[in-house]
Amino acid sequence: MRVGVAPGRPALGDLAHTATPSWRRPAVVAGVGVIALAVSLLAGIAFGSVSIPLGDTVAILAHRLLGWPVAVTWPASSETIILELRLPRVLMAMFAGGGLAVAGATMQGVLRNPLADPYVLGTASGAALGASLAVLVPIQLGVLGLGLTQLLAFIGAVVAVALVWRLSRASRLGSLTGLLLTGYAVGSLLAAGLAMAMVLSGAQLRQIVFFLLGSLATATWQQVAVAAPLITVGVAVLAWRARALDALMLGDETAAHLGLAVARERVILLACAALVTAAAVATCGLIGFVGLVVPHMVRLVVGPAARPLLPLAAIFGAAFLALADLLARLPGELPVGIVTAVIGAPFFLLILRHVRTGYEL
């Protein structure tokens, strides 16, 4: 890892002494992130394709969640929309967005590659293949409120990463190069399987396409109840292992000299990132951009150290996806991936232009 205020590249130790503008301190940034998170939560509940009076929204929340004695003056449908549709949807967006951003930050660090995202080691194609097989198999199956699609997508993502990991160890290339190239090769193979499944799917093609586009429209409480704990545990372990991620970014040899069990830590980090990604992808489909760009946005502001990076990526990823999903559903139902890219890319370019810190992975 090289950190620097160009052109010089101060050593890691110097970084602590570099004067940081107050707005760039992690605590301040975290405060901004929490406010953004709260705003996106409230806006996500208050607005949607159906307009419900703000007073009703507040009253419904107070009545049903806090148990306040409020006279029921709203139609039952408003209550269903707020509590059964919007609330799980916003929460799902937050868990998925936060999880994907942390998984992306981890992948970028472990692979020391700025273009890495949560999907780089085959999770995306594995999940997509799993989901498309579920569409082809005419079996109705439900476990814990999850359909066969979610179940097979999750299994597909986890199996794909495990396969990539296992195969890459047989390679004589350097471990990172081997891992990336194996991921690419396995991903291509799975993508071919996906294309085949799409050809065979006939009338069911639409379901596969919408899985590939990603959507939060189908989020239910049951899905939140299954995905949220998985994502929370994965993110917590990653945040707890932030020091290992920092050390790995210095290079395998340096990390080993620092006393890190390089191979073991790498497995733990990759496994957690894969778990988080699989949980998010299985419930929301393939949502791009969040996992790639949010970590870079955070790094550009607070620097690349993993300790502040991972929690901040979680907060901003959550707020970003919740807001993107809100914008996606206001005009009807746009695929959320379009919105994340359309608002995310220009914003990212703006940050690239105006932020003066530099870092290299």
């Binding site: 949607g48 394709s49 159906v50 139609p75 039952a76 449908s77 408003s78 269903t80 929309i81 059964e84 549709l85 919007r86 109705q140 359909g147 699609t149 065979l200 006939g202 009338a203 069911q204 639409r206 379901q207 919408f210 429209a217 189908t218 239910t220 559903r329 009807g332 139902e333 695929p335």
Partner: protein, 360 residues
């Protein structure tokens, strides 16, 4: 066209008799239909035969099914799901254009509170709140419409996840899917039943049955039955009716021999296979979506097809041919005329609503 039969006697929707108001008794042997995707056109005696004829079993008395159902009503939908509708629905959301059309045709349009953005007929359907798009159901809008019954399309037309979600919210969902022409008539009755309008639906389907049988009989009586490629779409893959599919069934009933993909699950056909099948007639189901006869003539590899050489490339209004709704008899007549322009249909069998578009 005789649209005024009495609530017609029929033991089941697939076998039975229709008594026209004029008093002409048309005996229908609809047994061929009952065999589920049977390819043979229905045998029947064309209208009008003689003043009074055959009356076989059963005697024409109102069948129990044609009476108004009582609620709570439990039915089994086309996916085999048992659905209970607690009371006569007053706020219905229709998620298929065919069901929307039917409810309007039955005079129940005022009970519709939502449909999809592809529902285009009748005009009133366009001004209903659209609670679903090609992408899927907009769940908030569906819930806001406060439906007490949702009628959805099967085989992935309405996404299964959406159906499960609506049911989880406690709203009854009836899923409709018909793979054959007889099944369409059964479904039209089923929709009438769950909407609490069974007598009207039974009258409508019996009239449709009579008309379609008559059209099929006239088409079957023609001296030749050309092989027909019903073009669903080209670009760049060639989309053709799957084997034993609904469209193939319609082509057969309209007097043609359908060129299909040869596979019940595939909707694409290789150009080589199409050349091998060498259709004598090409019916442009994609005419409404912008494909013209001139386009077909220009396609490389198509110039030696018999249909192209003979100039037997004819457009049809795809909506009425393939939409499993109340205009299906119009669709069959339009398709029969597109396959064989020399076919003479009596005025009451001609397509009523939309004329066959003229080639441009």
């Amino acid at each position: 066209m005789d649209r005024s039969p009495l609530p017609t006697p029929s033991r089941s929707d697939r076998k039975g008799f229709s008594v026209s108001a004029v008093g002409l008794v048309v005996a229908l042997v609809v047994g061929a239909c009952a065999a589920g995707g049977s390819a043979a056109p229905v045998t029947s005696s064309p209208i009008p035969a003689s003043s009074s004829t055959v009356a076989a079993t059963p005697s024409p008395s109102p069948s129990p099914e044609a009476t108004q159902p009582s609620f709570p009503l439990t039915i089994t939908d086309d996916e085999g799901t048992s659905v209970t509708i607690p009371a006569q629905p007053q706020r219905i959301v229709s998620l298929t254009p065919a069901t929307t059309e039917e409810l309007f045709a039955l005079g129940e349009g005022s009970r519709l509170v939502g449909d999809t953005d592809s529902d285009d007929y009748p005009v009133a359907a366009k001004s209903l709140p659209h609670v679903a798009t090609f992408q899927g159901v907009i769940m908030e809008q569906l819930v806001a419409a406060q439906p007490d019954l949702v009628i959805a399309g099967g085989d992935g037309f309405t996404q299964p996840a959406d159906v499960a979600r609506i049911r989880a919210l406690g709203i009854p969902v009836v899923v409709i899917y018909a793979a054959t022409v007889p099944a369409v008539l059964t479904d039209l009755r089923l929709v009438g039943e769950v909407a609490g309008a069974l007598p009207a639906a039974a009258a409508m389907t019996d009239a449709m049955q009579t008309r379609m049988d008559a059209i099929s009989a006239l088409a079957a009586a023609e001296p030749t039955h050309p092989s027909v490629f019903y073009e669903i779409g080209v670009g760049p893959d060639i989309y053709a009716p799957a084997q034993d599919s609904f469209v193939a069934d319609m082509v057969t009933r309209a007097g043609g021999v359908p060129v299909t993909t040869g596979d019940p699950d595939s909707y694409t056909i290789a150009l080589e296979k199409l050349v091998l099948a060498d259709p004598q007639v090409i019916v442009l189901g994609d005419y409404d979506y912008g494909t013209t006869v001139a386009d077909v003539l220009k396609r490389p590899g198509w110039e030696h097809l018999t249909a192209v050489v003979d100039g037997a490339v004819r457009p049809v209004d795809d909506t009425i041919v393939t939409r499993p709704g109340p205009r299906l008899a119009d669709g069959l007549a339009a398709l029969a005329l597109a396959i064989d322009p020399a076919l003479v249909l009596p005025a009451d069998l001609l397509p009523a609503a939309t004329p066959v578009p003229s080639p441009s």
